[in-house]
Symmetry: C2
Amino acid sequence: MPVRRPRIKDVAERAGVSPTTVSLVLNSRPGARIPDDTRDRVHRAAAEIGYTPNTLARNLRTRGSQTIGFVSDEITTTPFAVRMVEAAQEAAWARGYLLFLVNTGGSAETERATVEALLQQQVDRFVYACMWHRVVPLPVGLPTDTVFLNARPVGGGHRAVVPDDRAGARAAIRELLAHGHRRIAFIDDELAPEASGLRLLGYHDALAEHGVAPDPALHVRTSASTRGGAAAGGALFDRPAAERPTGFFCFNDRVAMGAYRAARHRGLRVPEDVSIVGYDDQEFIAAELDPPLTTVALPHREMGRWAIEALLGPEGSHDGRTDEPVLMPCPLIRRESVGPPPG
Amino acid sequence: MPVRRPRIKDVAERAGVSPTTVSLVLNSRPGARIPDDTRDRVHRAAAEIGYTPNTLARNLRTRGSQTIGFVSDEITTTPFAVRMVEAAQEAAWARGYLLFLVNTGGSAETERATVEALLQQQVDRFVYACMWHRVVPLPVGLPTDTVFLNARPVGGGHRAVVPDDRAGARAAIRELLAHGHRRIAFIDDELAPEASGLRLLGYHDALAEHGVAPDPALHVRTSASTRGGAAAGGALFDRPAAERPTGFFCFNDRVAMGAYRAARHRGLRVPEDVSIVGYDDQEFIAAELDPPLTTVALPHREMGRWAIEALLGPEGSHDGRTDEPVLMPCPLIRRESVGPPPG
DNA sequence: CTGAAAGCGCTTACAG
DNA sequence: CTGAAAGCGCTTACAG
């Protein structure tokens, strides 16, 4: 470390040219007509002393900064949504950008300070990500071309990408309907986040398509956990046979895991006696349940990539108009928890 | 954004002093005797025009860089180990550092390019993290004071922090022994990673303490998944009663989840008929199993924080000697899957 | 106490 | 085709 990295001047001296020339050939600027001879000497000299440009200096001069600020509420906190970070990082890297990752823990104050610190680092492009699909107040200090990931700002007017929860739910319910189910329950999240409202819409959409009247008693809310799923599922299982739902759409895979448990405790088999569909396609859970869970996947990777591409997209691709958020499809993942209703 | 951020010169003009003075007061250098009067004028001027220093320029000049490169094999890929990233980011932020996050996908070539790019950004401090406890070849290009997180370099000689898998396993087995179990199986990972060897040692340690001779037939290897756990657990359950283990130590929580399933299929109850201990304390799994799983936690947060603190620690705290890796304790998390053996 | 000047390592008009 | 010079926005000896 103590040996100082070679500078452009060192290359210039060794190649017997000026720093200007070195800069020109190393950046291979289109306009510059430089004989191959000179060009070679420079490249050789650079290679020999292991020259590599100081990005900081370049950025200071050009006022660019090949970096992106990735600020999130607590995204890294959630094992769950990491693929968004991963995909974003990969997409950024592929474009020659580096990602500054900061999570603010949800505090508005930290958020402000974070944005400030990044701005000082000359970071001029931001992705603001949430771990849950949320509608968020506009974080102060963020530039107007910030891209929202898994979130949209309350007023709109910014680019944003969110999962298409409504269509995802619709697909889930259709799957149940296609197998012949008519009494279909929706075990929803009691916190009723953005995703909740959207999925309820999708639930109704699909029911309406098939002409089945929604039974309000079959839409229940509980904590979106295994425990909640077991409790709510159990209550539903315990209804009189004629009123008992045969198909269950669960707010997430953990709720589904709870529903499995409640079924098991009552000697009910999945999918012979009851069909269950989850949401999230959560790693280590959905595929590993017994039987493997049919569920709707959250397009974390796709959204992460989209966000970076929108941010770095072709010049002027964002004309500042108040775009609608992009709805990323949530594919239905068919496994083995859905079958025809009993009898 | 088109409005250019104010520079130090703007503050100087407004306050009627030189840039030198502004720099001096804003950085409140210890030696500098500056009258409160001047000091106030500068601060006021800075506040009025919303001045905030350009970190890039400062870093170029001082050759510092308040940034840390966090390079990992595929850490963000694993929902599982995110807490390491999270804790590292928080610790860095608390010290005024920003984290460049890059994961290389495990490719040595990408790794080299990554380090190179970060070096060009004048990043001079690195954490190299792995998602699994691994022994890694020394990544090329990383400075010698790099801190290894959840990994140690093959030759040693670098600071590193890893989970104390041996002690963790010992605690798990002791827990089983304390409840009276003597026939204790270890359902190990077939890939036999670093953690595997260490845990086997801990398993033997604890057995030896209690004078129970290890039965090689009770140490089995399988894929570290639910399916693997179900298969291996099932085979063990099917042994003749007198040879059947009553306690199970599983390589991870997913294996334990499989063991639960195998037990259930055979009408065996946890913990009445069989006691099970996992490893990882994996979120959304361990605590949500039925019954909740007694397991050993991986100290991801603690390791993440430690890495940053070692990196940023008091000057000269690293004297370059070939330190042994720090072993971070893996606490036993008692829940409800362990009881006395039947009969 | 305070300022002019040099310089961190680049890039980019501008001359020649 | 190629170089001298200015400048990105700071900090820091050095004078005074």
